[in-house]
């Protein structure tokens, strides 16, 4: 009975957390028009642009380097197995499809989780501790619109873009491996990849990265807003933001992969 109670309570807490994230996401979505250029309030879109630079442009070096490494590792590992069966050319299929559907979005999401998810939480947590969020409320300004929505818009735009960049670098790393092992040229490699990858592979990958972006930004912001106490609570919220968003990103990835797999199976 005790075990059932514990499990039940964990499930309720989990659902309440996801419900909170959904409500927060809805509030951000409703506030989005007020941050758009021309339509929105004066100069507010500049805040979203600054966030885009922080989340996207500043993450370019790490995303590029890690994607090149991951692409090369994937090509080497699959090449080592496929070579035994004389099927080395299928490395290109694995790298191309693997990156567009899976590795690009998840790798990018995990990097942004660690880099920006923790930063969102720390920034908002500090604003809570120093009463800046309360100050916004007392000035009749909505913290969701003023603090969270610029991050939301920036993440929704930049994380899919970073995923595309990750796909590109990962696939190019595969070409380096293929050139070393089979002397295949870059144009030939790219033509093969072009014929292998379908549009829906790219679209499913992008859809996943949009969902991951929503998870990262909302978990980071929610953990920051839930800070109670002093600076040590900010540290705890940062850790919690990274851990929870990593969990949720991977669970969401498994869920979407299963859905897409079933759709493909029923469609085939």
């Amino acid at each position: 009975m005790k075990l059932l109670e514990t499990v039940g309570s964990c499930v309720i807490q989990g659902l309440a957390y996801v419900g909170g994230l959904t409500m927060q996401s809805w509030s951000e979505l409703r506030a989005t028009p007020r941050l758009l250029p021309v339509l929105g309030k004066r100069g507010r879109w500049l805040t979203a642009m600054r966030q885009m630079a922080e989340i996207g442009v500043d993450a370019l070096p790490i995303v590029s380097v890690l994607s090149v490494c991951a692409g090369f590792i994937l090509a080497m590992q699959t090449g080592a197995v496929l070579r035994r069966y004389g099927a080395l050319q299928y490395v290109m299929d694995v790298v191309g499809v693997g990156f567009t559907r899976e590795l690009g979005p998840i790798l990018t999401a995990l990097i942004v989780c660690g880099r920006s998810g923790s930063a969102f939480s720390a920034e908002i947590g500090t604003m809570v501790v120093t009463s800046e969020i309360d100050a916004l409320r007392t000035m009749a300004l909505d913290p969701i619109e003023f603090v969270l929505t610029p991050k939301y818009i920036a993440a929704m735009i930049t994380i899919p873009c970073l995923s595309i960049i990750s796909n590109t670098f990962g696939i190019l790393a595969g070409s380096a491996f293929m050139h070393i092992t089979t002397r295949i040229t870059l144009p030939m490699y790219l033509r093969y990849i072009y014929n292998t990858i379908e549009l829906r592979d790219i679209l499913t990958g992008l859809l996943k990265s949009v969902v991951f972006a929503g998870i990262i930004v909302n978990v980071g912001c929610m953990e920051g807003l839930r800070v109670k106490g002093g600076p040590d609570a900010v540290g705890r919220s940062t850790t919690s933001a990274v851990v929870r968003s990593t969990y949720l990103v991977i669970i969401a990835d498994a869920f979407f992969t299963a859905i897409f797999y079933l759709v493909r199976m029923t469609g085939a």
């Binding site: 120093t130 009463s131 800046e132 100050a135 409320r137 007392t138 000035m139 300004l141």
Partner: protein, 269 residues
């Protein structure tokens, strides 16, 4: 007599079963300076947070200009908040914005004034608190006293009817604290604002207050004019005014622990 601009009635607040405020009732008249005093943990800041609508009470009502801020619509609450300026204990300046931008923020977001007008108003607000030449500085570059004055400038940006201060002189030296008292009195004289100050600095309270209210352990002990408050015979108020410390109660557990540490356990058994 005019209707109170702020009316707190039977305010009771509980956190996780612990009662922090116990049926507190207080009226603040338009144009007066009310100082809410009390020891640490007496519930002053909790009461202030309920008056400015940041938290909802367990029971009781808080009315600002006749509107029950816990039962009104979001639009009404926003309208009420625009008539209140709050200077927090931590100042709560936005560290990513310069001093000017901190003051401009409410003007840009909540008014339709043109940018040059906002610029002039910002300068006037900063000049009124003696920071006219410091607008380009970032909050971390300011001293404690400058931050407090900047917080006052931001709180008055929209020319509110009600100005609320949480521990304005906390952490300031006596000269800077006295300067802040003068600034509060200037705000009252120049703009006829209703001012609520939460403090435990009695010198400051007697300098600026029209009336003083004292909270103790979540209950309101007295609400008096400053002269009547000074003469109040309530033992707890006398203790507060005369700076008499609470006796340290000798706990048998602590006594036994000290005896253990000293190796005397069982010596008297």
């Amino acid at each position: 007599m005019a209707d109170p601009i702020i009316s707190v009635d039977g305010l009771t607040v509980e956190y996780e079963g612990k009662r922090v405020l116990e049926s507190v009732s207080l009226n603040i008249e338009p144009g007066e300076v009310m100082v809410l005093v009390g020891g640490s943990g007496s519930g002053k800041t909790t009461m202030l947070r309920h008056i400015i609508g940041l938290e909802r009470p367990t029971s009781g009502t808080v009315r600002v200009r006749g509107v029950d801020i816990n039962r009104c619509s979001e639009e009404e609450l926003m309208a009420i908040r625009r008539t209140m300026g709050v200077a927090f204990q931590e100042c709560a300046l936005f560290n990513s914005l310069s001093l000017e931008e901190n003051i401009e923020l409410p003007l840009q977001e909540l008014t339709t004034l043109a940018d040059p007008v906002i610029e002039i108003m910002t300068y006037m607000k900063l000049a009124a608190v003696g920071l006219g030449e410091s607008g380009k500085l970032m909050p971390p570059e300011l001293s404690g006293g400058m931050k407090k004055r900047a917080a006052v400038a931001r709180a008055t940006a929209l020319d509110p009817e009600i100005l609320v201060f949480d521990e304005p002189s906390a952490g300031l030296d006596p000269i800077v604290a006295a300067g802040l008292d003068e600034l509060i009195l200037f705000m009252k004289r120049a703009f006829q604002m209703t001012i609520l100050v939460v403090s435990h600095e009695m010198a400051s309270a007697f300098r600026i207050a029209d009336r003083i209210a004292m909270l103790d352990c979540g209950s309101l002990l007295a609400v008096d004019s400053k002269d009547a408050f000074r003469k109040n015979a309530n033992p707890r108020i006398r203790q507060f005014l005369d700076r008499v410390p609470d006796p340290i109660t000798e706990s048998p557990i602590v006594r036994e622990h000290i005896r253990e540490l000293a190796g005397l356990t069982g010596a008297t058994k």
